[in-house]
Symmetry: C2
Subunit: 465 residues, 2 copies
Amino acid sequence: MNPLFQEKLQVIGLGLAGFSDNLRQAGGEVLQLEWVPPAQGDAAANWQLANLFNCPQIEQANETALQRYLDAQPVLVGIAPAHELIPAMAEGQRRILHSGPPIAWADMCGPVQGAIAGAIVFEGWADDVSAAMALAAQGGIALEPCHHYAATGPMAGIISPSMPLWVVENQTHGNRAFCNLNEGLGKVLRFGANSPEVLNRLRWMGEVLAPTIAQALAVCGEIALKPLMAQALQMGDEVHNRNTAASGLFFKRIAPAIAGLPDAAAVLEFIAANDHFFLNLSMAACKAMLDAAANVPGSSMVTVMARNGVNFGIRLSGTGERWFQAPANPVNGLFFPGYGVEDAAADLGDSAITETAGVGGFAMAAAPAIVKFVGGTPADALNYSREMMEITLTQHPVFTLPSLNFMGSGCGIDARKVVDRGILPVINTGIAHKQAGVGQIGAGVTTAPLACFIEALAALADTLE
Amino acid sequence: MNPLFQEKLQVIGLGLAGFSDNLRQAGGEVLQLEWVPPAQGDAAANWQLANLFNCPQIEQANETALQRYLDAQPVLVGIAPAHELIPAMAEGQRRILHSGPPIAWADMCGPVQGAIAGAIVFEGWADDVSAAMALAAQGGIALEPCHHYAATGPMAGIISPSMPLWVVENQTHGNRAFCNLNEGLGKVLRFGANSPEVLNRLRWMGEVLAPTIAQALAVCGEIALKPLMAQALQMGDEVHNRNTAASGLFFKRIAPAIAGLPDAAAVLEFIAANDHFFLNLSMAACKAMLDAAANVPGSSMVTVMARNGVNFGIRLSGTGERWFQAPANPVNGLFFPGYGVEDAAADLGDSAITETAGVGGFAMAAAPAIVKFVGGTPADALNYSREMMEITLTQHPVFTLPSLNFMGSGCGIDARKVVDRGILPVINTGIAHKQAGVGQIGAGVTTAPLACFIEALAALADTLE
């Protein structure tokens, strides 16, 4: 009992923990909340935030954007080389797409430079990797983000004109999204490896794998991806870093149609051997759903999160194609034997489009076994999913989490809530070696940096009527 | 405070809850345990139980049996017709195997009679179902449990000489186990359906499916089943009533080898369309592992639990081939539209071999999504797995449960613990219509009846030195 009062002193502490300690020593009962001031305590940003939370235009715009995202029905309709799908990559154009927000060659990290050099050799624009590096450094190749062409790519995210792309159509609104094909693990272009083995595999993927799948799709028909992703969430995937079930479900759909084709055995073996094969389909599906929600004036819903290995960039629906960037956070994870955090490139890749769509790290509760790959415990996985519900507009009606009693995964990231609550979007990711040519060295969990959300909200405020 | 004592009265209640209520009203603090007297309060059985728990021979025997079970490595080595694999079913022998403990034709439930009649027509021993029923009723066909021939079959569990069987070899100890092939859901023989559609499917399975898989296995080689089952537990299966992931993993292993064969597309489509396809492989694997643990004198470890639609039967390692039976418990579950518990046959099938091996209901924590099929909540699924750890000898080192922080599933049922704790083995199961010819009408959860464990322990006590 506190001697000054008849009743026991009961306090909720919001500030420094030391204050609460003093109260406890004096006999008080204190519940210390884990609270931090919004917008890192910036007073002007806080005033702005208060206004943004009291803005009917934003509420209405978010409702519209969210509904468009929820209504989207991404369907795999085909597969074709990039030069056929993207006019800016048509015959004769020397353009290569990369992950994340725009970045100049000189500023790129090792694995992205390595992957671009590999793609230049793959296209026959240079004879070897060092000539390719020189060509790129001279500005001989146009380099642009995948996201500028409704495309995405995991890790380095390299798309060159000859590479086959998945074509995913949102059949509700008609927009299309693209993603390259998954090469497997180990020494692969997307982690910056560019040896002849890597380029030969890419050639086989373009000449055998993609045409075979295209023929099979013509037999088995279009494949709706949202139900497949939803089912995979019931089977321990979060469809970003764990795609074991989704890859198997896709394989079951396509294998009977592949069976009669000339290269059936090799193609089926390649797909069956890669538990990450579905990742690129998941990304294209997420991109197709989120593009449907883009460009709603006033909306604070996040439509893109992407990393180029140096900077993390986001886009809001209400600010259209504008990027808001901040230095990428480091990745806290598990490393393959012989590697450590000192070898790691910064957070990299367009695959955070999955988290932007409410799966990946947001749906980690569905995938307790992923902690063996990215670190932590199954309890952490549940907590990540619960936390993400605090910064999103709704819980997904189709992407449900069995371990949380089939609650929907938090989706529709509201930039206002991120800044207000100081809860950063969590992202499951692979870790690339910081040098070109090495490849993947681990996997882990990281977060989006707060600064780009603060900047995006300031820009959104400027657009309001 | 209780006025008689200086300190607050704190009581642990074991008996009637009413006593605890009185103590609480008098100001006491009571923790009421959910305790029931062992062996349903039977004094003689309790004395015996106390002796069995203090018996070094049983401890040693259980250690041996359990280790043999844990060391077993079940591997799919082939597929062949029953008449080639089981001498008692060779050419000219009119023998049909069924699920559960032995039972006379007249005592069998509707779906088992229906399935046997279907198999008689399938074998050409009668022209139609009614002639087949008459033939069986006259004793014209030898009817025996699958378990008498190292075999198992789900639901009615019918194996006739022409039917193909999976051949699973325990490569540690050399014993083999068999199971028939899964027909899919709906109107199928194992649920008592026997129409021409059902028998034609069985013919196709014998003439096309099985020979194609046999050829594919010759190409892709033997398939180790324990790692595959362990992986499926990380993907939301419990490998009894949920085999979606395991079927997909098996499909991925076999599809590239099937691709080049004449009936590849039809065979791949059949397997891909059936999420329960792996069940029969899971059962054969469990049988192979448990047979390795059989016949260890003195062991109270359960090696078989099986139901014939009337009685539930178990075998202990220490009592060899002797069956201990009790009436099967009803199944509490979800029914397909138009059906209810009044339409249901009693608990049926050899598939409880999965629970005997520590998966199925014992591993339900791995499969939260199964509650949509068998009823209950994901929290129930966790509780079932936790409870089963109370009646088993150990937690499986390979069959782990992600949602329970990768704890091993409880395995090696100790009949002593079942009787002592009054915790009944939980079983996930399909529900057949009680009449022949209808098929599956639901799925649910049931338990093994206590009486057969009490009887088995009495028999075990008689064998002790």
